[in-house]
Amino acid sequence: MQLHGVAVRYGRVPVLKGVELAVPSGEAAGIVGPNGSGKSTLLRVLATLLRPTEGSVAVFGTEMGEATAFAIRRRIALIGHQPALYPQLTLRENLAFVARLSGHTDERVDEMLDVVGLGGAKHRRAEQSSHGMQRRVEFARVILTRPDLLLLDEAHAGLDREAGQLVDAVVENVRSRGGAAVFVSHELDRMLPLVQSTYELTGGIVIAGSSS
């Protein structure tokens, strides 16, 4: 997965400038940087959800364009600041919706909900579930759909101590399947053990990249 000279502007405001970034298969990269530096924007570019104003993005070796994006998207998953849930549907219905659309059975849904520790609460509506419970469903989705590119925006936020280890396990799992992960977080001590390289973003520019 590779970014080359990527720039993004919202209207006239530049948010990213000449970003270069490469994450080989089987590795995870961490992105750190102060608030408002463009980390979430960068993840949306990687997810093909935002087309950069300049520069090129290549995912799984294919250059992103109009047509290619479609084929590739199924293999990408993003966990962002806001959970992607229908408030009126139960946690189980939410996950089952995703499952059917990606060709999985309902048994797998129940299994995944058990995995993230929501087996006993799966019939609560999303609007009646706590912040952390909603975040856990997001992880259940990622475990279910087995993406090859996993994008995590402050994934630990809202998860309790035990559920926090889900992040490690999920990243591990994606990498072991030969996928890549990109990880934005302010909690360095939890992120650094998981990543092979880190990039520091400040004011939309990558000012430092290091691999360990």
Partner: protein, 241 residues
């Protein structure tokens, strides 16, 4: 025999008495037997007004005192009031067809205001259904119970504001032109409907109280708190899949 059954029987008896007087009363020359619909139509309209008045008062009392009983009264009275409103509308429409040649007349302010009163209180019941929390439900519907009430006096005086087909205010007037026997029949039916109202209310409030108690009990029985259902994730499984 419990209280509800006794009240029910009294109500039945009162209605039979009312119908007897209604059957005895002299008929209008023009309308013939259709006049008798009046003995259902007028009392049910008045009882609908009374129901909503009770809701209005109970709503204020709930806001002031916060005793659950007031909320139960307010709700039950709307249910019963909606029933009486429907009855007044239906009998009015049945009466209107032979007398005016139409079931419904537009622009007749009395019909319109009565119909909308019906809708607002249906809205009241819909509002209650869409709020799960009891205190929130009681307070919001109390406010609506107060606001909606102004349609009631409006429905009553509407015949003055917009003069159309419907009969003006006749009974309650210093120079009431009503024949004594008709008045007796009317009032006995009003009395009978009032007993019916009371019987409905006693059953409805009892049901509401029962539901509340059931809720309390099952809440007490449902000992496991919401949070207990959430467990630690099964990390081994994640690595396997």
């Amino acid at each position: 025999m419990n209280r509800h059954r006794i009240l029910g029987l009294i109500a039945l008896a009162a209605v039979l008495v009312g119908f007897y007087f209604g059957g005895q009363a002299p008929l209008d020359q023009l309308q013939g037997d259709y006049t008798r619909i009046m003995y259902v139509h007028v009392p049910s309209a008045w009882l609908a007004y009374l129901s909503f008045l009770v809701t209005f008062a109970a709503s204020i009392l709930w806001l002031a005192r916060r005793k659950p009983v007031y909320d139960r009264i307010a709700e039950s009275s709307v249910s019963v009031g909606v029933f009486f409103t429907a009855l007044a509308l239906m009998t009015g429409m049945i009466w209107g067809y032979p007398v005016w040649g139409t079931f419904w007349d537009w622009g007749d302010a009395r019909m319109m205001t009565t119909a909308l009163m019906f809708f607002v209180y249906l809205g009241y019941l819909a509002l209650r259904r869409s709020i799960p929390d009891p205190a929130m439900r009681a307070t919001r519907s109390a406010v609506l119970g107060i606001v909606a009430f102004f349609l009631v006096p409006l429905s009553y005086v509407s015949v003055i504001i917009v003069r159309t087909l419907h009969q003006g205010i006749t009974v309650v007037r210093p120079d009431s032109p009503i024949d004594g026997e008709i008045l007796l029949a009317l009032l006995s039916n009003v009395g009978a409907f009032t007993v019916v109202y009371l019987a409905f209310m006693s059953v409805k409030t009892a049901i509401a109280r029962g539901e509340e108690q059931l809720e309390e009990q099952s809440a007490a029985a449902d000992a496991t708190p919401a949070g207990a259902a959430i467990t630690a994730p099964n990390l081994e499984k994640v690595r396997d899949v």
